[in-house]
């Protein structure tokens, strides 16, 4: 089987390689280097919570991890536990059924921490604005440090916005518990 596989690979043309835009990668890596004395080291661990999305944003968040976009090359990673997270990344509207869970996730995170709203729904409710089943965007649950618009935002836009957090000069805000 090995010989057959080898022969086939010799006989067939390899697929054309695809890469993320090299100028973007270069610029982003440069920015990362320049933001050298970060309070969070050279990395951000992200805990994602879908608070009422259509799952479009989740598809693109997952795509940031693929071989093309590869967000771990910038020191960014997703973590299953809020205990290990520097960033709470919220997608989707603030569905009433999820508000408690989102608050609990934030409370379980160590300080300091950032809160990010990704996608038009999390930014301000998106097309679902005004629905009685929701309270609005993510800022109706928690104060938000960064908005990533788009329906859904592309993987490149998500990575770029998260890097902006890494290089932000202000220390991350401590959250007030009673919201």
């Amino acid at each position: 089987m090995v010989w057959k596989t080898l022969a086939r690979h010799l006989a067939t043309r390899p697929a054309a390689p695809r890469h993320a835009d090299p100028t973007t990668i270069g610029a982003l890596s440069q920015r990362l280097k320049e933001a050298s004395t970060q309070k969070l080291g050279r990395s951000l661990a992200i805990r994602h919570v879908a608070a009422g999305s259509c799952n479009g944003c989740e598809l693109e968040l997952r795509a940031t991890q693929n071989m093309i976009h590869d967000l771990s090359r910038y020191g960014l990673s997703f973590t299953p536990s809020p205990r290990h997270a520097d960033v709470l990344l919220i997608t989707g509207v603030a569905a009433r059924n999820m508000i408690d869970a989102v608050r609990q996730a934030r409370e379980a995170m160590p300080e300091p921490a950032f809160t990010v709203a990704a996608g038009d729904c999390a930014v301000d409710g998106g097309v679902f604005k005004g629905s009685p089943a929701i309270t609005g965007g993510a800022d109706s649950i928690l104060p938000i440090d960064l908005l990533i618009p788009g329906c859904p935002p592309s993987p490149a836009a998500i990575i770029e916005a998260l890097l902006a957090l890494v290089e932000a000069q202000d220390p991350p805000p401590l959250i007030v518990r009673e919201i």
Binding site: M1, T5, R8, T12, R13, A15, A16, R18, H48, V49, A50, A51, G52, S53, C54, N55, G56, C57, E58, L59, E60, L61, R62, A63, Q65, N66, M67, I68, H69, F78, P80, G92, V93, A95, R96, N97, M98, I99, D100, A101, A105, V127, F128, G130, S131, P132, A133, I134, C151, P152, S154
Partner: protein, 456 residues
Amino acid sequence: MNFCSPETWSNFAGEFIALWTDDTTAYALFKGEFLAVELVNGAYPALSPAHPGAGWFERLAQDLNGHQAQGAHHTATAINHFRAPDGTAPWPEFSTPHTDGIHQIAVGPIHAGIIEPGHFRFSVIGEQILKLEARLGYSHKGTLALMRGKSPRLAARFAARVSGDATVAHSLAFAHAAESALHMQVPERAQSLRAVMAELERIANHTSDIGAIAGDAGFAFLDARFAWHRESVCAAAQAAFGHRLMMDMVIPGGIAADITPTGPAAIFRALDALEMELPSLRRVFEDYASLQDRLVGTGHISTNLAEKYAAGGFVGRASGRQTDARQDPGYAPYNAYELAIPVETEGDVAARIRIRLAEILESTRLIRLFLEPLPTTPVAITPPQTTGIGLGVAESFRGPAWHWLKIDSGLITTVFIADPSTLHWPLLEHAALTGIVADFPLINKSINASYSGVDL
């Protein structure tokens, strides 16, 4: 639509698809039959005792419209979980089988991965799952209410966000419903391009899910390669239609914009790469005993069970059900072509993967047929401001998505959306019982029911 007596309603023996209510009437969609019965004091006879798939629909009608299904066994809330103004409510009791040594595992609504919210309650003895109860409704957004009072073109934005991974299919089913209600004839070029988008969406989801299952079983390189192909399909969609998921592209009357001049070439490049690598990726599934060990026999859904819930899509086809909405009832442009519909009878995770691998190749074949040559008609017509009732279906990658619309003078008065996931969630609860807790991620991914699609 046939108005019938409560007796005919209760005793109808067809294949159940969906149930919903409006102000005066309860509707039930069966394969080849559409029944309606008048509400009496806001109640109608329950269908769930005879058709278990109706359970979620009845609970949804109770929560959305306050209409009761008389004789229903399962009356827990579907979406109306938290009633107090501060968002709190007592946490429900999850019943557990009465056996010694049982404990419960609670998972969610926030899950470990990058996925939607939902709560799973496992009753386990050791590692063996004895019972799984899924509590959904967390991402309820009030979609149906927002669509009422809007024109079909405006409401299409909500149809496109019923389930983001099936945005093209839901937009298409919605457009079919609106076009049937308003008697519109969609131009041929729009029909072909809609089908191209629908098949691209199918390929993107199948590749991504197959890779994720392999990744969960420890085969990270398969995950990486399949994710690469999903990415290249999305990049081709961006190049051809201006959006990676092709959201808001299918609208009532046609499509929002024509394909770009370089679009077909970009799509062909992505398909070429996929077709070239797929045989060797498929061989990994077939050749590696350690992978087969995780997949074969896992998450088994018998043909009987699939029939009982009228499972559609790859879940039904992996359990012996020859069903595909592109063929039956069928819609343009598919009805002009012979479709190869793969069917297997094993009903396990491995069978569902085999079906999806076969469907990828069928989709690449269809896209090439649709794109060459493209008809040279316009790509959209304007919906008239008329009145009508319409039912529309489109085969999403999961199975048939059904949309039903009542339009009055160009504005929607009533709407219902049935995602295929509604019939797949109870099957997941059954399939989980064939495995241990560690198998659940594989079983769940192999069915991949939508949360948003049922929460609405």
